[in-house]
Every structure is written in C-alpha cells, then in structure tokens.
C-alpha cells in the first residue's frame, strides 16, 4: 500500500472516530465510543507505522534496522 493510501486510511479512521465517540458518549454506549477510541488510536499510530515500514532499505528485520529508520532523518534539505 502506498504511503498516501496508508495516511489517507488513517485520516478516514480519525474522521469516522469523531461521530462514534460523540454518539457513544452521548448515548452512554461503551462499545460505540470504545470503537471510536480504537479507530482514533489506529489513525494516529499509522504515521509512525508508516515511518518504520516505508521503503525497504534494510536487508534484515532487526531491531537495529528499525531503530535506524526511526531515529535517522530521511528528509533531504531543500
């Protein structure tokens, strides 16, 4: 899945979470607002997931490799 699609899905999840939490809290339904909160967590975690899994410059799936992806900037200067 391309990064734009991943992030687009995350955005959709966040927008769906909004009415679910509002309705769930107003109606007193833990399942509805809990589902909304879960969607919200998924939506916000996707950018970090996307950072870890973007491209594939690592030949092995080691902790060191993921650490490198997390804490080394890939952004080129303008």
């Amino acid at each position: 899945m391309s990064q734009t699609r991943q992030l687009g899905s995350a955005l959709l999840a966040l927008l769906i979470a909004l009415p679910l939490i509002s309705a769930g809290m107003t109606l007193g339904s833990t399942i509805i607002w809990g589902g909304g909160l879960l969607l919200l967590i998924i939506g916000t975690i996707v950018p970090i997931y996307s950072r870890v899994h973007r491209g594939d410059s690592c030949s092995e799936k080691s902790l060191h490799c993921y650490w490198g992806r997390l804490f080394k900037s890939k952004n080129a200067d303008s």
Binding site: L15, I21, S22, T26, G36, L40, T44, R51, D77
Partner: protein, 545 residues
Amino acid sequence: MDNTLPIDLLHILLALLPIATLLVFLLILEWSAPEAGAVGLFVAAGVGVLGFRMPLPTVAVASAKGVWDAVFILYVVWTALLLYQIAAKAGAFDALRQGIMRFSRNELFLVLVFGWVFVSFLQGITGFGTPVAMVVPLLIVLGVRPQFAVAAPLVGHAWGNMFGTLAVAWLATLQVVSLDANIATDTAFQTALLLILPNFFAGISVATMHSGWRGVRYALPLILIISLVHGGVQAVLTLWNPVLANFIAVTIGFILLYPLTRWPRYRDPLPYEASHMMQEPNSDTIDELPARMGLFAALLPYIILMIVAIVVLVPEPVSNLLGQVRVGLPFPEVSTGYNVICPAAEPYAPFAILTHPGSFLLLAAIPTWLFYRARGYTASPHHADEQGNILDDLVRDAVPSSLAVIAFLILSKLMDHSGQTDVLARGIAEVVPPDIYAALAPTLGVVGAFITSSNTASNVLFAPVQKTIAIVGGLPVASILAAQGAGAAVGNAIAPANIVLGTGPAGILGQEGKVLRRTLPYALTATFFTGVGAWLLVLITGNGG
C-alpha cells in the same frame, strides 16, 4: 468545586513532557509533523492517564474534540491547496511573478511585500492559516527557497492574529474574561501597543532572512514606514473599534506599497548579490515562456477571496445571518481524578460553515477554475502533462498535513482536559515573583499558541488564568491580558499546525522542523521584547487596574 491539581515540580515537569517531546522529535530528530505529532499526543495521553488521573472516557472526549477542532483548520487546508493547485496548473503564479516584476525588480522589496505586508493584509480578513497557505506559492515563484517561503509568511503574519480575521481572538478573549468597558478598551489598546514590537521584528526578521544586517539596513525605511502604519494605526483604532482596527491598518499598509514602488531604492534591482534565501528562478517556465494570462487573471483568486470575505464579514447583518448556520457534535461532561471538569457541550464549538474562511476559499476556487477553463489557461500545451491531476495532487499534499493538524489539536485537547495546561500556567505563576511576572506573561501566550496553533485558543485557555494571576499579584489586569494576547500572536510563528499549512504548498512536507528552526529566532526575540514592553506597561499603568 475547584480542581485539586497538584502544583508541584513533578507535575509541572510532566505537563512539559508532551511539548518537549514534540520539540525534540521535530527539531532534533527531524521527524515529519504527522509523525512527531502522533508521538506527542501519545505522550500527552500517557501523562494524562498516569500522572493526572485522566480516565479513558475523558481521553476519548478530549481526543474527539481535538479532531473536531482540527476540522476547522482542515477546511482551510484542503480548500487553500485546491485553489493553489488550480492556479498553479493554469500558470497563474508564473504570470503573477512576471506582472509584479513590472512594478519592482527589487527582490528584497518583493520578499517583504509578500512575506510581511501582503500576508498581513490577508490575515486582516481571512485567518485560520489561509494567509500562509496562499502566500507560500507566491514567494516560491519569486525565487525564494521553499523553507524560507514558509518561514517568512509565518513570521510576517503572526502579529495580525490578535486583531486580524475581524478580531476573532479579541472577541473570544472578551467571552472568557469579564471586563468592564474601560478595562476592555485599555486591554485592547495596550495589546495593540505591544503588537507594534512583533510587527516591527517581523519586518526585520524577513529582511534578515534575505540578506542579514545588510538587508535590514537597506529595507529599514520600508520597515519603519510599514510598521508605523500597521502598529500605530491599529493601536489608535482599537480605541474606536477593535474589530476593524487591524483590517483598516493592513489595508492602508498594502495601499502604501504602490508609492513605495516609485522610489528607485525599492523599484530597481538590489545593488548587491542575491542572498542564500533565494534560488535561481525556474527559467523554462518564467523567462523563456510568455505568461499565459495577464496580471488581473493571475490575481483573480485573491480578488475573489477578498471580495467574498469583505461582503460576508464586514456588514454585521450579513455576517450575523450567515453565522446562524452552524453544525456541531454534542459531548457530555467529563472529569478527571483531580476534579478537572469539562462541562457538557450541546453542541461543542459549532462550526459556522458559511462565514468560515474555508468557504471563502472554496467560493474563490470554483469561479477561478471556471474562468481559467473558459479562457483555455488549463489547456496550455506547455502544461499538458500536468492537467487532470488537480485532485490527485490535492490529496497527496493535504492528507499528511491533515494528519499533522489533527495530531497537534488532539495533543492540545488532551493537555487541556487532563489539567496539564492548567498546571503549566499556575506553575509558572507560582514560581515567578509578581514584580517580574509581566515580563514572562507573553511566554504563556506563546506556549498556548504553540500547543493549539491558535491565538484565539491560547487566549481562551490562558486569559482567565492570566487575569487571576494579575488580581492575586496586584498587577494591572489590562497589561497582563495585553501581554497574553500579544504573546499568543507571536506563538503563531512557531505553531506546528501553522507550519504544516505552508510546507504542503511549498512541496517540502516533512521538513517542518527545519522551518521551525528558521522561525524560532523571531519568536524568541519578539517574545523577549514583548515581555520587556509588558513590564514597562505595568510600571507605567501602575497596580490593580
């Protein structure tokens, strides 16, 4: 019943943790805004649950309110990027550059015109980040490097946030703190006096970005004239009508540019070499190809935007009528273990869709696209490969920006609903003696705007706290509230969600930390001098105002 938040070192440090995390991930680790924002909000939630006794329903409601607050800004992000794509694909920015160069070939003057004067003018009527998103492409076609093209308008527009957008931040302040008429007038006037400093330093900063002190020396007459008009006229007009003060001041400033282009100092090319702020213009689109449209057609989106905003917002009956169309979602009352209570809202922060700048941008985008299409600008053989991609490019640019804005606003609401912002504010007030509190009062405003990316939200969060601190410390309420408002305006230059509004159109998504490094010196300087100004105001106006 008052909350029972512990104001101790541990909780002050815990409350600082989300902001510190955000800064570290943006500035040091150089993560992109959506990534850094996500980490920041998880830290804010963790601190809220573990350190501030925030139950899960409160986390859910705070987060959902954050998403809802973000929708306000996203409406601007998406429509501003849509307008940008339409104009860019039709070649409007190339035409604009060629048209403007007929009036002046002085790049420092043009950078100041767009990065300070024009962006302030747009802030006078639109706001919510629209001015930044609209000016960034103009600076890029002038040859400004993308990071500077974002940094300059961020700095240039910040001062206008307090009384810009027809003083929405000022009106919000009046809603959250009850002031009698005399103190309200004093507060507005003193706020405008303090804003002279960030406005002046905005001009200085943009000139410094261009060519250091040499640029400042060369631009100084222009900076003095414009800042005197922006700051002076606004200050005087706040005594009459704070709502229109900024709009009139920035309009006069904008009109004054024309006579300044007659002055050879600002009409002719700079007498020294180009700066590191500038890059070589894209010669194949600018110099070798004649513009497909005239200056008027290129300016059409801006003209429509201004007309729509003025027609909708200035006549009170029209804005009142259209402002009645509001949508919002209900949220119940939630609280924390420290008795921080957020009352029920039915609906929460209703969205006046017809008077929102996003609607103005949409109303500007549709006729602009129809006009360009009817005139054949969208079917140029030079740009045939670019046609038909408006929506694809819009989605590509707007989605990451949207995620970042949502993350920042959820973080802000989590800090608010858990009591972290309250602890931060009261902690500063307890640590700092009243004698020097005035000098630090703008810092609280800056922090509020940094967290919320909004002058209005910073004032709503902190103006009541500032007022209480002023009364308890025997300080003049008007001066402390003025420091809050001016600080909150300055904070807009470094607010991550505002930066994202510029990095999208600049095509440098992910470089928000680098832009922040360029705006930070301005924010620190302006905050320091605003603090000095506030301290002097307290000395002059005396105690207990």
